[in-house]
């Protein structure tokens, strides 16, 4: 059975979340919107699974959170990336790029 790009996303969600937080702090929905925007709607992230990922990353110290007020004036939890998170993201991005280049090379030759 052919797999959708969503299946490949599994395990890479942490990296995408950190990328979405690279420029500014966002709440959960904002992170999902930013990922969609960056992916030009080619990836649809299962929105609920974002939250366990956020807890995981916070526990690892890659992101931090604080309660704030949204654009609509509602109380919302905002996440921002930490120095450790930035380093982690850069490392994971490099590995991802190297890995995908090798896979592309193999697939192109085939």
């Amino acid at each position: 059975m052919a797999k959708s790009p969503n299946d490949l996303l599994q395990g890479s969600l942490d990296m995408l979340v950190m990328r979405a937080l690279r420029d500014e702090s966002r709440h959960g929905w904002g992170i999902q919107q930013r990922i969609n925007q960056l992916a030009q709607d080619a990836l649809s992230v299962n929105q609920g699974s974002l939250y366990p990922a956020l807890i995981r990353l916070e526990k690892q110290g890659c992101i931090k959170s604080e309660w704030g007020t949204s654009e609509a004036g509602r109380r919302a939890k905002f996440y921002s990336i930490t120095r450790k998170g930035l380093k982690q993201m850069e490392a994971e991005t490099r590995i991802w790029k190297e890995f995908s280049a090798v896979v592309n090379l193999i697939l192109d030759q085939a």
Binding site: G28, S49, Y51, K59, Q60, S70, A72
Partner: protein
């Protein structure tokens, strides 16, 4: 993962679970609202937009669950649930839980209390600064026993103190009981007479006063230091003891300090340390004293020197000293094979008690194993009893992991409570040990646990926990998932039954081993109590006195008082025989070298024990004279003294017993100007004068007390009166004759002889109590396991009976299980007992390590108990009614 972060998440989830849940819900709701708004903006109706948002989110509860996992909330919640349920069950099954906790607390506590002594006396370094540098200087110069480590002397002390580079300081001391006058009262105290560097060498902390003050000797008084335990028992806490004047043998001492009671680790029971008068020391120093062994020499080596380097330097110093002496002196030294060896004080000191403590620790560990087997079998029975419950819980969704978590919670609670109980038991155990045997008890003043002791008990409790968990969890671990998931017979049932029977066998074996060891020790004790001591203590009373020099200054006064005492006692018609002796049997006779006069030069040297006695000593003590005569009132120790020797001395004199009379010899031949040749005038029967329960190492020579200035002696009186009345008479007699002289060690000689076996009796009591406990635990173990087995197999037994199995067959089927465990256990127990008995040979007195009759009778006893314990469950099996059994399931 950042451990701190992870822990903070865990703790927050534990204590703020509601807030976290609410925050999560609020966060997700906000997300859904934003998404709904997003769809509304794109033209969907609010209702459809909400539905689409919910669909995109993918089930709030599912994600909430994942988030809870991420927070670790589920783990903590489960732990909480498990522990709550454990405590509920603990109170529900009170007797079951109480039995486990009691056995665990008692067994771990008993082990810990023994370990406290083992740690304090043998393992832990002395609590003094750099105690690893402390040495004892030993000498070897006994020709007849070259491996005999002898104490040191003043000559060596003076030489090493002056010239050794490897020794930083050295101190000479002797230990003895003295009459000490404190606050107008005369007390009999155990003290150390030590040179001024004693505390500087040991570096024992002072509780009051300063170490330097022990070195400041004035013309009026010498310094004395009290031990903290003695100070506390004698003086009120608020009373200043420094500067108090005391008197020992007419000499005035001033209290200059109070030293930590840790000194009792080196000299058990010591109460004071007095300064050794330098004038007395100078008198003892002579080249001849180099081969004497009258005092103990302790030293602190320089840290830069290793022990072998120190020994090399000491050997060099010895050689240097001998090179300066005469040729005959050197020849004598060469003949004796003289050598010096410094040994680590920690390794040498108190080593005599090490095997005894290790034996007690081994026995306690066996009790722990036996107790643990009972606990394990109880837990295995609980697993089997709860089999159905486990299956139901498994069907309701509890996986192996969760079931194991529940069991782990149960075991940790048992172990934690059991451990706390064991600490209390250990403290109680220390007090019991102190009261049962002074030999061990004297090392610890107040029952307390050091960190290592607490660690040891925690380790034991943890090991017990591991065994208990393995037994409890074996039913889960060894069962396949399918077995758990299906409501089929647990495969673990059979495994746990096999484990239970194996453990039972081990338990029976350990109990038998313990029983045999107890039997061997009891037999040794009995042999020591009932042996032929060579003298007859029945109807003999004794009292010891030491004449204070301030009241009895010269020899004439001493002799006059001794004669007065003897005359007055003899005048009493109720005293049938009266004598005086410098020492009484088993309380330690002094030793000396002697050599036999054959040629001008000593042919051989050997050690002997000697005692000064008055005429009638042999008659009072009931010691037969085998040949020659006894000591007469005309015999005098001043010149050419006439002596009586024990029959055993013939071996040491290398003569036939009949040839001993008239033999001449010299005691303390190395003393300068010792020209006094002694002559043997009689041979007495051998006596147990050293120990009642050990072979004698040296012969005893009886010397006349007449002509000596012995100011400390024992009166011995044979009387037909009852002991309390006779003692009253004796006390009055001494009070009339010498009102200022304190009396001590007063009582019946029989009582003192029994007292000398007190240490052996104490160990026997402890091990006997342990073996009784082992027997009880094993019998209960056999009975409980078989009863449980029968109750579990009632259906099977019912079917067997209904298809024609005879009741005799059923009876023997159950009995066979108990008896086979008993037989295999007995073989294990016999092997274990033999192995242990051979390693404790030194404790046995006139008892063979493999006493066949004892081994067989105790094996029979344990098999008998196993048979009785198996009989009742077998009878229960026979009474099973097939109909009611089949109806049961």
């Amino acid at each position: 993962m950042d451990l701190f972060k992870s822990l903070s998440f865990g703790f927050r989830s534990l204590f703020q679970s509601n807030k976290i849940e609410n925050d999560l819900k609020e966060e997700m709701e906000f997300h859904l609202e934003q998404q709904t708004q997003h769809y509304i903006k794109n033209g969907l109706s609010p209702k459809k937009a909400r539905l689409a948002a919910l669909q995109d989110f993918g089930g709030t509860e599912k994600h909430m669950d994942s988030c809870r996992d991420g927070w670790g909330m589920r783990f903590f919640a489960e732990c909480f649930r498990n522990y709550r349920s454990v405590f509920r069950n603990l109170f529900r099954n009170k007797s079951f839980s109480a039995t486990i906790l009691l056995v665990l607390g008692l067994c771990v506590g008993a082990n810990t209390s023994i370990f406290v002594f083992l740690n304090k006396v043998v393992f832990a370094p002395y609590p003094f600064d750099r105690s690893g540098d402390l040495l004892e200087i030993l000498h070897y110069h006994d020709k007849t026993n070259p491996e005999l480590a002898l104490k040191s002397n003043l000559s060596t002390y003076a030489h090493y103190t002056a010239d050794s580079e490897s020794l930083r300081s050295a101190s000479l001391h002797t230990v003895g009981w003295k009459n000490v006058e404190i606050q107008g009262e005369t007390l009999r105290l155990k003290g150390i007479l030590a040179t001024s560097e004693f505390f500087e060498t040991l570096k024992i902390p002072f509780v009051e006063g300063a170490v330097d003050s022990f070195q400041s000797v004035s013309s009026n008084s010498s310094p004395i230091v009290l031990t903290d335990s003695f100070r506390q028992s004698r003086f009120p806490a608020n009373q200043n003891v420094l500067g108090q004047l005391t008197s020992i043998q007419g000499r005035t001492y001033k209290v200059v300090g109070v030293v930590s009671s840790d000194i009792q680790l080196l000299v058990p029971g010591v109460q004071f340390i007095s300064h050794w008068n330098t004038d007395e020391l100078a008198k003892l120093n002579s080249p001849e004293s180099r081969v004497e062994n009258h005092a103990t020499l302790w030293a602190r080596k320089n840290t830069s020197f290793s022990l072998p380097q120190t020994n090399i330097e000491l050997e060099h110093l010895d050689n240097q000293f001998f090179a300066e002496q005469s040729e005959s002196y050197r020849k004598n030294i060469e003949d004796l094979g003289y050598r010096t060896q410094a040994v680590k004080l920690r390794k040498f000191q108190n080593q005599w008690i090490r095997p005894k403590l290790l034996l007690l620790q081994g026995v306690s560990l066996m009790i722990l194993i036996i107790g643990l087997v009972n606990i394990t079998n109880m837990l295995l029975a609980q697993v089997n009893a709860n089999k159905r419950d486990l299956v139901i819980r498994n069907m309701l969704g509890a996986g192996k992991k969760r079931l194991l978590g529940q069991m782990l919670a149960q075991i940790t609670v048992y172990v934690a409570i059991g451990w706390i109980l064991s600490i209390t038991t250990a403290l109680l155990g220390i007090s019991v040990l102190k009261s049962v045997t002074n030999e061990i008890g004297q090392f610890i003043n107040t029952p307390k646990l050091a960190p290592l002791d607490i660690g040891f008990s925690a380790l034991l409790a943890l090991c017990c926990g591991l065994v208990m968990f393995s037994a409890r969890a074996s039913g889960i671990i060894f069962s396949s998932n399918s077995a758990l998931e299906s409501n089929q017979q647990f495969s673990a049932t059979k495994q746990s039954r096999i484990t239970a029977y194996l453990l039972l066998t081990l338990q029976i074996g350990s109990s038998l081993t313990l029983l045999i060891i107890t039997g061997l020790l009891a037999k040794s004790f009995w042999a020591a109590m009932n042996q032929e001591s060579g003298f007859n203590p029945k109807g003999v009373i004794t009292a010891r006195i030491e004449l204070p020099p301030q009241h009895y200054q010269n020899e004439n006064q001493i002799v006059s008082l001794r004669d007065q005492l003897l005359d007055k006692a003899k005048a009493k018609p109720e005293f049938s025989s009266v004598a005086i002796a410098s020492h009484i049997p088993t309380f330690g006779f002094p030793t000396s070298r002697f050599h036999v006069q054959e040629t001008d030069q000593p042919r051989s040297q050997s050690e002997t024990r000697f005692v000064f006695v008055s005429a009638d000593y042999f008659q009072t003590m009931g010691i037969p004279i085998l040949s020659g005569r006894s000591i007469a009132s005309t015999d005098n120790a001043f010149w050419r003294e006439n002596n009586v020797v024990e029959a055993d001395a013939a071996r040491h004199f290398q003569k036939d017993q009949r040839e001993l009379i008239g033999q001449r010899f010299k005691i303390a031949p190395n003393r300068p100007k010792n020209q006094n040749w002694n002559q043997i005038v009689g041979v007495a029967a051998n006596t147990r004068h050293e120990y009642l329960d050990k072979p004698q190492t040296m012969p005893l020579i009886y010397r006349p007390i007449q002509g000596t200035a012995a100011r400390e002696f024992s009166l011995l009186i044979k009387t037909p009166l009852d002991i309390p009345q006779a003692l009253r008479e004796l006390r009055n007699l001494i009070k009339e004759t010498a009102p200022l002289v304190p009396v001590f060690r007063i009582g019946s000689l029989e009582g003192f002889m029994t007292e000398s076996l007190n240490a052996r009796k104490g160990y026997l009591k402890i091990i006997f109590a342990y073996s009784l406990l082992a027997l009880l635990l094993s019998s209960v173990g056999v009975f409980a396991l078989l009863s449980y087995d029968v109750s579990r197999q009632i259906k099977e037994i019912g079917i067997r009976i209904s298809i024609g199995a005879s009741r005799t067959h059923i009876f023997w089927h159950v009995m066979k299980k108990g008896l086979s465990a008993g037989l295999i256990g007995s073989i294990l127990g016999l092997t274990g007992a033999f192995l242990i008995a051979t390693s404790i040979r030194s404790f046995l007195f006139e008892t063979h390590a493999f006493d066949l009759i004892l081994y067989l009778s105790l094996s029979t006893l344990i098999l008998l108990l196993v048979t009785i314990a198996s009989y009742l469950p077998s009878k229960m099996a026979v009474r099973v009614s097939p109909l009611s059994a089949l109806r049961q399931e």
